[in-house]
C-alpha cells in the first residue's frame, strides 16, 4: 500500500505574493467507495484538516471533507510582505485515521 504523505510542496515569492502548490498522496476514500469495496463506512479515510505555517505564523487553514480527488492538488496565494526567500513553509495534513502528514519547503 502506498504511503500517504504530503508531496511536492512549492512556494514561490514574486511581487509580494507567495504562490503555494502542494499535492497530498492520499486515497481520499469516501464512505460510499469504502462500502463498494466491501469495507465498512469506518474504513473510509480522507483528510480532515490542512494547515500551512511559516515560522510561528499560520498562513493557511482548511477544514476538509471526503470529496477531494484522490492524491489531491491544492494551490493558494499568500501575502508575502512579512516573509522572504529562504523562509520555511510547512504544510500539515491530518486524516480521519489520525495520521499526520507533513512536509516543509523553503520559499524560493
Amino acid at each position: 500500500m502506498a504511503e500517504n504523505k504530503v508531496k511536492q510542496v512549492k512556494a514561490e515569492l514574486k511581487d509580494g505574493v507567495i504562490e503555494v502548490k502542494f499535492m497530498i498522496l492520499h486515497p481520499e476514500l469516501t464512505y460510499n467507495q469504502a462500502l463498494k469495496k466491501g469495507l465498512t463506512k469506518d474504513d473510509a479515510n480522507f483528510i480532515l484538516r490542512i494547515t500551512g505555517n511559516i515560522g510561528d505564523k499560520k498562513v493557511l487553514d482548511m477544514s476538509t471533507s471526503q470529496f477531494f480527488s484522490k492524491n489531491p492538488v491544492f494551490r493558494c496565494k499568500i501575502k508575502g510582505d512579512e516573509f522572504k526567500k529562504g523562509d520555511v513553509l510547512e504544510i500539515v495534513a491530518v486524516d480521519r485515521k489520525g495520521d499526520v502528514l507533513k512536509k516543509s519547503t523553503e520559499i524560493k
Binding site: 477531494f68 499568500i78 501575502k79
Partner: protein, 172 residues
C-alpha cells in the same frame, strides 16, 4: 478615563495584538460537526437506482444553516466572489475548481449539490491568506457548485455555477 484604567486597557489591547494569529484559527470539523453530515437530497433514476438529485438545493441550504446559520436564499450573489469551473466536467473524479474573493473575510466555504453530502471545504481565512484558491474535487453527479464568503462585516456573499458531470459522475 483615569490613568490606571487607561494603562490597563492599553495593556490588554497590546497583549491581544501579540497573541499569534493561529490561536484564533477555527477547526470547522470540530466547531460545526453537523455541517459536514448535511446530506443532499436523493431521487430514483430511470433504472430505479437511488442517486443524488443535483437540482435540489435543500442539502446545501441545510449545510449553510449548520455552518453559518443562514439560508442560501438570503446570501446574495456578489461580483467580489469569483468561481471558475468548466460547465461540463469531463473528469468528474478530478474536477478543477478555482475560486477567489476580494471581499475581506472570516471564512470561505465551498459546497455542491452533486455528492452525498454538500460541504466540501471551509477556509478559516488567516491574515496572510489572499483568498485565491484552486482545488480538485470529486463530483458524484451533476449539480451546482457554490462559494460562500463570510465577510469581516458579518455579511455573506456567494458565487455559484451549475455543472454537468459527464458519464454520470464518479462514485462520490
Amino acid at each position: 478615563m483615569k490613568r490606571r484604567e487607561f494603562l490597563t486597557f492599553g495593556m490588554g489591547i497590546l497583549t491581544l495584538s501579540l497573541v499569534p494569529s493561529k490561536i484564533f484559527a477555527e477547526n470547522f470539523r470540530e466547531t460545526k460537526p453537523n455541517a459536514w453530515i448535511a446530506e443532499n437530497v436523493t431521487k430514483k433514476d430511470n433504472e430505479g437506482k437511488l442517486v443524488v438529485d443535483g437540482d435540489n438545493l435543500d442539502g446545501v441550504n441545510k449545510a449553510l444553516k449548520e455552518l453559518y446559520g443562514v439560508d442560501l436564499k438570503d446570501i446574495p450573489v456578489n461580483d467580489g466572489v469569483k468561481l471558475h469551473v468548466a460547465e461540463t466536467l469531463s473528469k468528474p473524479a478530478r474536477s478543477q475548481i478555482k475560486f477567489e474573493s476580494t471581499i475581506p473575510a472570516k471564512s470561505v466555504a465551498l459546497l455542491q449539490s452533486g455528492n452525498p453530502e454538500s460541504l466540501v471545504t471551509v477556509y478559516d481565512v488567516t491574515p496572510y491568506d489572499m483568498m485565491d484558491y484552486e482545488v480538485f474535487i470529486k463530483m458524484g453527479g451533476s449539480g451546482t457548485i457554490f462559494v460562500v464568503v463570510h465577510g469581516l462585516d458579518g455579511k455573506f456573499y456567494r458565487a455559484e455555477k451549475k455543472v454537468t458531470a459527464s458519464a454520470g459522475g464518479c462514485e462520490g
